[in-house]
Symmetry: C2
Subunit: 225 residues, 2 copies
């Protein structure tokens, strides 16, 4: 009866369920400590079925990293209003980023904390996803510089540096906002009450970053007093 | 003769040599792939001596994480001029951070890329080091708000958010500046020619962050047009 019922679930659906279980397990236990037993149990399938469909813990982790990377890039890209002013695009991209990471804290933990330290090929895949976002932000900063009338003045290298700074600031804020609380409350049940919401985080970063970028575009520089 | 010579090296010195070799190996191979054989060979000692002094790969990694964390916090703390204006303190702390990470790219890779994903107890140790730096930056932002005459207006939660953003921006810039180049040139031989120097990175971040913070202190907020 159970076996007959199980057969009705298409492979593609079953694989997504296994990946859902894997994301949660990897995020909470870490890659090394995560066991295929736990993943199979959480997905409600047998361990041999996980191996049949996704081959190994390493392949499963790779599939999870690719799925979560693609989902994050898609969420940020979809949030941006094409043709809007650069600051508006940046704001909507940040809002999309914080909303997606708040809704998928386990996927974010896998990408941000687990995948980058697991060596090849995961670190390369996550670096490619991150580079895509940095390029996008570099383009927005370039467009903003042009809108502010300082095209060419802001060296490409500085625009790239500013984009790296902004992406790192967003990652750090997302980590803080979505971290499990001290009481052990899971991040999946929502941000801790003393942490900002996704929208507040986007607002904080925009208040901080945009005003700084805006003044930088207009030639302002900090100098020691 | 070799054994007699070896005995003259005090244990404390030998342990530092082993840790130097371990930092380089962990940074380049990752924790999982790093072998005790390679670490012993790089340190110029026998593998049993590494086990005798530092017990296990896990203990060695823990010792490395604690040493590199303490060195980073000490470098940032020593760089800050006590009693200076908040912006000056922030600038000198950032300059100290970028100078230290540029001089010790392998130690930075172990802390930033390896340790955070290796689970307990490493993740807790690195988080404690990072929290110490975030608290310090939160204090500077609070002091800057007070200097700008807006004490109490900048909510504690927003100051903490800004500090997380700034620390994340600095980490991301340091990762970019110190990353190995595409040609495989090691990060230990210096930043790639198209990447900013440590001082330029501190300047870029200060230009970006301080002008934004400064305007934020004075009540400026970004709002969609």
């Amino acid at each position: 009866m159970g076996a007959a019922k199980r057969k009705r679930v298409p492979r593609a659906v079953r694989e997504q369920q296994m990946m859902d279980a894997a994301v949660r397990t990897f995020a909470r236990c870490g890659y090394r400590a995560a066991s295929m037993d736990e993943i199979a149990e959480r997905a409600g399938v047998s361990k041999p079925l996980v191996y049949l469909y996704l081959h190994s813990k390493e392949d499963l982790f790779g599939a999870v990293v690719r799925r979560e990377s693609a989902a994050l890039v898609a969420a940020v890209t979809a949030a941006v209003e094409p043709g809007a002013a650069a600051d508006r695009q940046l704001w909507s991209g940040l809002a999309g980023f914080f909303a997606h990471t708040a809704a998928h804290p386990d996927g974010w933990a896998v990408l941000h904390q687990q995948a980058r330290a697991q060596g090849e090929p995961f670190v390369v895949e996550v670096a490619a996803m991150r580079a895509e976002i940095v390029r996008f932000v570099t383009g927005l900063i370039g467009a903003a510089a042009k809108e502010a009338g300082c095209a060419g003045e802001l060296a490409d290298r500085e625009a790239a540096g500013l984009a790296h700074a902004l992406v790192g600031a967003a990652e750090s804020l997302a980590e803080w906002v979505n971290a499990p609380t001290a009481e052990g409350t899971s991040s999946a049940v929502g941000a801790a009450p003393d942490r900002p919401t996704a929208e507040e985080a986007a607002g904080t970063l925009m208040n901080f970053a945009w005003t700084g970028l805006d003044r930088r575009m207009r030639g302002a520089r900090w100098a020691p007093a």
